[in-house]
Symmetry: C3
Subunit: 302 residues, 3 copies
């Protein structure tokens, strides 16, 4: 966590009870400030809602939660640097439709009325988090399917998120990256790494994992692979191999002989490793990584 | 199958030949009834189309198929409880666009005319089944990407379908569940289970599988895992392990010794099992499951 | 590559600097021709932009790139038959929105202005390639989630692309096929094959693979499997098995005995093979394939 504080001027949508269900902050309407005093005659406060947040304090309202999610996606704070405790309880469930956001509890009537009048309406999502691209525009990234990147994702410059890629809120990439797999909440991927098609990074919200996963620089998670440990720089996980933290791994020396066996968790954050499954013995093995990942420059000059 | 019968009042869209291509039924316009007599002077029949279906008879028209799909998604019948024989032949292929549904055979002209006039049109899908959320609104579920849940899916209260989740028609969850993997046609997932990211449940429509898969209560299918047998309560499949019905599995006792080997299909519906692949020998193993899945309450209080 | 040449009449969208960011070609407005002379008094050239391309020359403009992508999706040229060198540098990054395409660099202002006026706007994608279905309509295919098939994909008649399927530009299926996995750039799938849910075909753009992958006729890639070699006809890869080109594979005879071991790359293009991982020894094995894939006819009569 940092202890930075922020002021944002937001435009929001309210449900039928008058409560905000979402809020948009243009980047020029967010400033880092410790000054909570606002001139009441300022023109801007007639049009916008003024919202304050501190990185070291949890959000206490829909507006504050949205400002924090914007700060992440606008790259003003990195994942795990701002307190998001309780955000699931604060955010309402919203139906994101082609006619704008609607409180999920009001969707039934909304559908009925529009269908009755023959007005086309498409529901894109019923979720507490909207898509990043509906709030934040980044001209130096590509997001092939915007429904797969939540507001609150942090995408480094030069990141490409392909159709099978996914980036949760409070997670992301620090620089150029190819994302064709899933970056779970809390997971950070360093520069020049490639998360292959369908690759999984274990998250801490579901499924019982408690270790925060990360991926170092110049790493490659092969297609359909999985990662259950924090991975050091210049590491590769072979396509199709799921490396859980409890996996026992044979350590090979330069001659290809097995020297010892370790739990994968003991290899956390160690650089220059190649993980694979021996296709004849079925054992997970680890050796020195000689083909370090390089990104295809053509794909990342956005 | 049940032998319940239903009457619905629907609003539909027709193609250029005058045939229905889809139909919407508001929940209040569906009643369980064995009475097929309708008063011809009733005001409602001037506005709506009257449709009757029985759970034990296959649908015979687009309208009947749509009413059956609504019954499933509105939780009035459970998966495999209503006869859907022949539904693929009954349903037309529809282009689901931002301007409404269009017969797939009429899409070419539709695109040409709109492009020529500069009218933006987005085609979301060309499919026989629409998205659930465009027809049925459930305020007690979350569906992060609505394009991944077909009308006819049955989602129990408290279900979250994440971006990588998928639920086909005539399949679903009976209660609270986290769905980050794919629930194939005919597959039912019981309460408090977690289908991990990219996890696969074998379906019977494609790929040659003939056994109907199910998942018991408090189960966890790990990320990128797969399931080819009906799974009992409180079972876990390790991340990355695909358990096919023909897999031979080593059965371990409390001391971790191999007692015997069985085909996975012999373990169908048995409770309290943990399946994993030994990372040194490569063998699929099964032992008593000690860490039974619990859902994260924060994520499921919709 | 062929040496065919084509003339197209297109309708495009320009960015604020006056440069084309996309172009639409109706099928009737594309002709195969070697004649580059056009009558300047022709009415059509007042409404449309005239564009010429040759299959053996790379595209040199946005308009030419779009015409080539249309040729592929309209089945006028097959994948790998038209020169697409440099296409990533030619195509601009575009925000595909519900109000039409917007230059990615102009999205920030576009969002701000629309949010300020309360106009709903949905951003579907920020990418160099649009969705096939927004440009080309095929009445003999199904595409369950249109965001997963890029313009430039080649879909054979009777192809179904399910929600988890993906087809990149310059790749695709030659005839009937079930696509529930990912077909990477350059990959071609022959008739009557099934790419199972979440299955991966290794591409050559990212991740270091340099071998062009293909799939023969009547093949089945099981769910969550992966393919790193060109696969012959009537082959099956077991669900969950990732076959990389460097994998060593035990070859079994009719009695189930191991005869020898080969690298998977030595089995490229060989027919009638079944690949699986022995669930007790962990070894990847190959034997004669006795259950050849047949598609479910109900699903493919579009």
């Amino acid at each position: 966590m940092t202890n930075k504080t922020w002021r944002g001027y937001g435009l929001g949508t309210k449900n039928n009870k008058g409560a905000y269900i979402e809020m948009y902050f243009a980047p020029e309407n967010i400033i880092e400030t410790s000054n909570v005093v606002v001139d009441p005659d300022d023109e801007i406060i007639k049009k916008f809602e003024i919202v304050f947040v501190s990185d070291d304090k949890p959000p206490e309202s829909v507006s504050e939660a949205y400002l924090k999610l914007h700060l992440l996606s606008l790259r003003k704070v990195k994942p795990n640097e701002t307190n998001l405790d309780g955000i699931f309880n604060i955010l309402p469930n919203v139906a994101w439709t082609s006619l704008g956001p609607v409180d999920a509890e009001e969707l039934s009537n909304f559908l009925y009325e529009n269908k009755g009048k023959g007005v086309p309406v498409k529901v894109f999502s019923i979720d507490k988090f909207p898509s990043l691209t509906d709030y934040v525009s980044l001209s130096d990234v590509r997001i092939a399917d915007a429904s797969r990147v939540r507001l609150g994702a942090y995408l480094g410059p030069g990141t490409t998120v392909m159709h099978e890629g996914f980036v949760n809120f409070n997670s992301g990439t620090l620089g150029e990256a190819m994302v064709e797999g899933r970056i779970s909440q809390g997971v950070i991927v360093a520069e020049n790494s490639d998360i292959g098609g369908g690759a999984s990074t274990m998250g801490t919200l579901s499924g019982g994992n408690e270790i925060k996963i990360s991926v170092g620089k110049n790493c490659l998670l092969g297609a359909n692979s999985g990662l259950g440990i924090p991975l050091g720089d210049r590491c590769t996980i072979e396509a199709g191999l799921y490396l859980t933290s409890g996996s026992k791994v044979e350590i090979l020396n330069e001659n290809g002989d097995v020297e010892t066996s370790l739990k994968a968790s003991e290899l956390a954050n160690k650089p220059d490793l190649l993980f694979l499954r021996n296709s004849l013995t079925g054992a997970i093995q680890c050796k020195k990584n000689k083909n370090v990942n390089k990104l295809n420059k053509d794909l990342h000059d956005n």
